[in-house]
Amino acid sequence: MQTLLFGFGAIVAGVGGIVVLYWVLNKVVEQLPAKWEERLKPYVFIGPPLLLLGVFLLWPAVRTVYLSFFDARAANFVALDNYVRMFTTPRYVESLVNSLIWILIVPALSVALGLFVAVLSDRLKATAEKLVKSIIFMPMAIALVAAGTTFLFIYAWAPPGADQYGMLNAIWTGLGGEPQRWLSIDAARINTILLTLVLVWMQAGFAMVLLSAAIKNVPEDTLEAARVDGATEVQIFFRVVVPQIATTIMVLLTTITIFVLKTFDVVWVTTGGRFGTEFLPVTFFRELVVVRDQGMAATVIVVILVATIPIMVYNVKQYRKQEAMA
């Protein structure tokens, strides 16, 4: 009850505070000579959000890069030691390799499935299309840890001879196999691959929604023209539709890659990174919370950050292109 009141108070204080803040700042600026008012007002409008971003994101990010050159307690300068450890210790190398598997599987598979559903459901009746899309989209609303728990049950194991209540083992034994502890099998990275499927399950709907909107934006006359020229539906899809939705596909691949690189919840709640399933975001969490090595945690996240730089550059370029067109 107390927390509830507290939360309510926070909403009132937060919203009220911001309204008052803007009102006061605005009043102050309005007292200035007109010339100064015009000059300063934009900064009043963008000030509070930029202040938050600067103080709680940008500045800490810079500090993090700096801390990655320090030891566990952030006390002694160790130059590149953390980075050397990162790229030579088997445990971290394994984490890097697993990260590669994650960013190879999840974005591509999510986009492929999303495209598949978007294209095929487009041919259904309106109500059926809506239903299909809602179903595929639904996992997006679920917490990652809840999805992880759900799949933990699907991959569950019971001793041979007992009834397999885990679905994968039920199917597997039904086909004549021995029940397996799936998430402990790191041969061929089977456990990591099984875990990536959880994220695909969640992200395919996201891809589907964006792709579906993009496909519906493809001008009908370009399709007509191709049909008149005698192109088959498949040819039309690959030669006419896909080029026109290429930007959306790129946006999706990049957005999902970024998402994968910061999402540790599924692995954390299922294996905790054991059995060779650790990948970069899990390593970061473990270093920060379990090992309590701040320097190493900073190093891991800097490595992730560096991996996102090409995407950052691409996004800025896209934005520039859009602005030039507008």
Partner: protein, 300 residues
């Protein structure tokens, strides 16, 4: 997001006008329907399994697969129990529901107004640094939030607010800000210039234009962001486990999993408790949710 409204119209047209020609002959259609049906089942099965298991007694869950209930539906209905839910709620998930709300609601409401002001300035005011600052926002859009964690922890400890709700509101407000500014700028920037200009001719200040014109017109975009941010903060485990002492549902669930490894009847009930609110939000607000997403990225 005028692009999105156009999309919506386009959708209806595609449904009624362009469709019949594109529907292939019946054989192909049966194949398509079968494929989609299979995929939908595949997508639903995890949640159905979870839901059924959460209502079965422990012994049943551990002795037979949840799908066997379809073979003996009568037996299942006789043995249905809410005991699992009672147990997880008493084990800590009850108060955690309140904590989840106390995290998610302010973390959603607080950043939105500030983001709207900034989006307005980025769209309709000219000032030195506008371009550069917006590019910084776009770059921050993809920065993994963890990059701020180590210094932020020290900062919050130094400020004496580490572990409190205040620290998590600040963290969520900040991490959600780039997306909020970006989404809202796309929308507010696409409002018709004449509307804003005519208001200015009538002598309205930027502040008045913002309150009387921009905010009411932006309701769809604001709603989209509210849904995003609410789901994100409700479902978040990472930020909560690091910056907050009281436990929200997600953190409770992870505790439950590590405490009761194979007590599936409890884990499934616990997982479902965390999902109820997001699923309600999702199914009632799906339309806004979809619009918000398409507004962000389908632009030209």
């Amino acid at each position: 997001m005028s692009a999105t409204t156009a999309t919506d119209v386009g959708q209806d047209e595609a449904l009624e006008g362009g469709k019949p020609e594109r529907v292939p002959r019946s054989k192909g259609r049966i194949l398509i329907n079968a494929l989609l049906l299979a995929l939908c089942l595949f997508w639903l099965v995890p949640v159905i399994g979870l839901l059924i298991s959460s209502f079965r007694p422990r012994d049943d869950v551990l002795s037979t697969g949840w799908w066997t209930v379809f073979a003996n539906p009568l037996e299942f209905t006789q043995r249905v129990t809410i005991e699992n839910y009672v147990e997880v709620l008493e084990a800590g998930m009850g108060p955690a529901i309140i904590n989840s709300f106390v995290i998610a609601v302010p973390s959603t409401v607080i950043p939105i107004l500030a983001a709207a002001f900034a989006a307005y300035a980025f769209s309709w005011m000219r000032f030195p640094g506008r371009e550069v600052l917006f590019i910084v926002v776009i770059m921050l859009l993809v920065v993994p939030l963890q990059v701020a964690f180590v210094p932020l922890l020290r900062m919050f400890v130094g400020m004496g607010i580490q572990g409190t709700f205040l620290s998590i509101w600040l963290a969520h407000a900040t991490f959600g800000m780039p997306l909020a500014v970006y989404l809202l700028r796309n929308y507010i920037g696409s409002l018709p210039r004449e509307v804003i200009e005519s208001a200015k001719v009538d002598g309205a200040s930027h502040f008045q234009v913002f309150w009387r014109l921009i905010l009411p017109l932006s309701v769809p975009a604001l709603a989209a962001f509210v849904i995003f941010q609410f789901l994100w903060t409700w479902n978040d485990f990472l930020v909560a486990t690091i910056f907050l002492r009281p436990r929200p549902l997600t953190v409770e669930l992870v505790q439950l999993v590590s405490a009761f490894g194979a007590e599936w009847h409890l884990l499934m009930a616990g997982a479902f408790v965390t999902m109820v609110v997001p699923l309600i939000v999702f199914f009632t607000m799906q339309r806004f949710f979809v619009r918000g997403m398409t507004a962000g990225s389908v632009k030209g």
